[in-house]
């Protein structure tokens, strides 16, 4: 039981991390909470499905999906969010509306049947600690870790990443040294979209693509980001591990019924005790004051 809990707790954490990385990155770098993340995630899922259905080879379909979804992310910022940038409430309403429009548009198109699914990248299983784990879930763990490392490296070791981070820390100072605010935000929306697409092609093969998943993704991303801290990659990883294992433990020792409540409880507790998140720094000073 314990071995299984350890293994599937890790899988669960990795799934959460993949789902939240794009949202967290956009939030951390542009300061805009992109509530259309769930819609973008589902867009990527359906896009990959139709590209594969058209007969494209898997690798090409995946690369195209990631690229097109990144463009969609950038377009959302350039066409809509840019007009309300800086007015937090309007940003929330605009991105939320886009997300709802996308999800309901899919429903309107009739994507409600059970026929939409993506294939596993690799089929097969192996045994670890007497627990059988399939290749797909193993890959999810690997990809989640790689993306987290990439995200940390990108924001701390590349000029572009540092520019984005600078913009997130203090927009006026960043502008003063020549960093274009809109360029930075467009870039972060595009990367956020690409991350959502990667999450979609990794996670959606576990089941079937369904519109309601888009709403759940948003809640997950929000919970993880609030718990970990807005700009902190390490905080994000820590939050995913805490939530991932908390869910599996709740499900195993109490009842699966309660595990969804873990997200909401996490948001409430963190907002009450440490609003900047477990490892968030941006608002820490304000909190002390």
């Amino acid at each position: 039981m314990i071995e299984s809990m350890l293994v599937f707790g890790l899988v669960n954490s990795a799934v959460l991390m993949l789902l939240a990385l794009g949202f967290s990155l956009t939030f951390g770098l542009s300061g805009v909470a992109n509530f259309s993340h769930g819609g973008i995630y589902l867009f990527a899922g359906y896009l990959a499905y139709f590209l594969l259905k058209m007969g494209l080879p898997y690798f090409i379909a995946v690369v195209l999906t990631i690229f097109i979804t990144a463009l969609l992310g950038a377009a959302i910022y350039k066409l809509i969010v840019i007009r309300v940038r800086g007015i937090v409430l309007n940003e929330v309403i605009a991105t939320f509306a886009i997300g709802i429009c996308m999800l309901e548009f899919f429903r309107w198109l009739g994507f409600v049947t059970y026929e939409y699914s993506l294939p596993y990248i690799a089929r097969g299983r192996f045994t670890i600690f007497e627990t059988t784990l399939d290749y797909q879930r193993s890959l999810i763990i690997v990809v989640a870790l790689l993306l987290a490392v990439f995200l940390w490296f990108f924001t701390h070791r590349t000029k572009t990443g540092l520019a984005l981070l600078g913009m997130a820390q203090d927009e006026y100072t960043a502008l003063a040294v020549g960093i274009d605010s809109d360029w930075a935000a467009t870039y972060s929306f595009a990367i956020g979209g690409a991350f959502a697409a990667i999450a979609a092609v990794m996670i959606l093969p576990l089941g079937i693509i369904n519109i309601n998943i888009g709403y759940e993704v948003l809640l997950i991303a929000l919970a993880v980001t609030v718990l970990g801290g807005l700009e902190s990659t390490k905080g994000l990883i820590l939050a995913c591990i805490i939530l991932g294992y908390a869910q599996v433990i709740t499900s195993t020792f109490f009842a699966p019924h309660w595990k969804e409540a873990v997200y909401l409880a996490a948001i409430l507790i963190v907002l009450a005790v440490k609003p900047s998140g477990l490892l968030g720094k941006f608002k820490e000073l304000e909190e002390r004051v």
């Binding site: 039981m1 299984s4 809990m5 599937f8 899988v11 669960n12 799934v15 066409l79 809509i80 509306a97 709802i100 429009c101 309901e104 548009f105 429903r107 309107w108 009739g110 409600v112 049947t113 059970y114 026929e115 939409y116 699914s117 294939p119 596993y120 299983r125 627990t131 059988t132 784990l133 399939d134 797909q136 879930r137 576990l206 089941g207 079937i208 369904n210 519109i211 309601n212 998943i213 709403y215 759940e216 869910q247 599996v248 499900s251 195993t252 009842a255 699966p256 019924h257 595990k259 969804e260």
Partner: protein
Amino acid sequence: MKKKKALWGLLVALMLLSVWSISGCSPQEAPTQVASGEPIVVAIPTALGSIEGRDGVRAIEMAVEEINAAGGVNLAGEQRPFEVVTIDTREHEAGIPIHDALAALERIILTEEPHAILFGAFRSEVLLASMDVIAEHKIPYIVTTAMTPEMQTKIAENYDEYKYIFRMCLNAPYLVMYLNQMMGYLETEFGFNKAFIVAQDVLWAKGTGGGVEAWLNNNNWEVVGFDVYPTGAGDFSSSLTKARQGGAQVIVPIFDMPQSGVLVKQARDMEVPALLAGFISPAAPENAWDVFEGELDGLINFIFEIGPLPAEAVPMSIEFNKKFGEKFGESARASLAGHAPGPSYDSVYVLKEAIERAGSLDGDAIVAALEETDTYGVIGRIRFDENHQVVYGMDPAETALGGAFQWREPGVRVPVFPEMIAEDDIELPPYM
């Protein structure tokens, strides 16, 4: 500037489109109207975005088209066509409150003034709440999805108020009856005596799970566990681990949510050596084998009402599949839901016959005529019991029929239960 305006226009159009699809009332004219005279308005307030809702509405439209093409309903000597109006209650989605679905029901009653309501509530919770609205408006209401037996209890307790409500689909106790009989068969045939139940956290599924659990406990089975998952849950590893460690030979899944497809794949991924036998809605359609990449081998899945599963013992079910495929395409037929299409199609004919017997559109007269129903449809023989539930059993010549099939290589659904429709014995899959 023009571009800017165009973009905003596009956004507004998209939003309006979305709002319209969320709460919109979308009347649909009945296709061919050979019959003359004022139409008989049939309202469908349900979760149109669900697969059961979509297929149920299609089945109703198909029946309406057939009836209208054949001259319509003979109402006291005058041929009147049916007209269908729909409204989306969205009740199948997580987080949609019951009062939203009720508001949609009230709205279509007040704006369209229907003579009867078909398909009805998708969720049992909404059905129970709708009963008072129906009682107030006194409109005959035939439900073909929601399964709670509480509906019958309420009718039994207050017949005069709730007599307008009828149910043609399977209810939870009948599903329990079928599941229990099949568990008995598995015990006799394979010596199984350990089961694990996993159900969705909705009224009908929990009720069904509870019924199966009680029967198993009373029949010397060991129930290794009974887990309930909220709608939308996508990881079943803890239950599957418990099932394996407890030595469960049968896992009984009871779900109508799309995410339950994960359970099937995860059980194979974790190599759980147990037979899955129950209801997983995404695994019911004929095209599910391809969707699940062949991971369904051995799964026993129920079709709540014969119709979507063509069975030789019920010739009308074969005819129904043929006509549905011709009208909506093979792809639509192959994705037919395992619950609702059959009784939804039959409900139109049952209503037509009741109106003709009553010779009136008066709610009370139609109710009295509906109670006398004794006819055959794609679900078998159709008769209502004293609490307005269609009687289900094992012989389609005597009662309506539900059944189970087993997925087999190379992706075929083999009817295996009950005996009247079984085309082969249940086989244990290779992983057991």
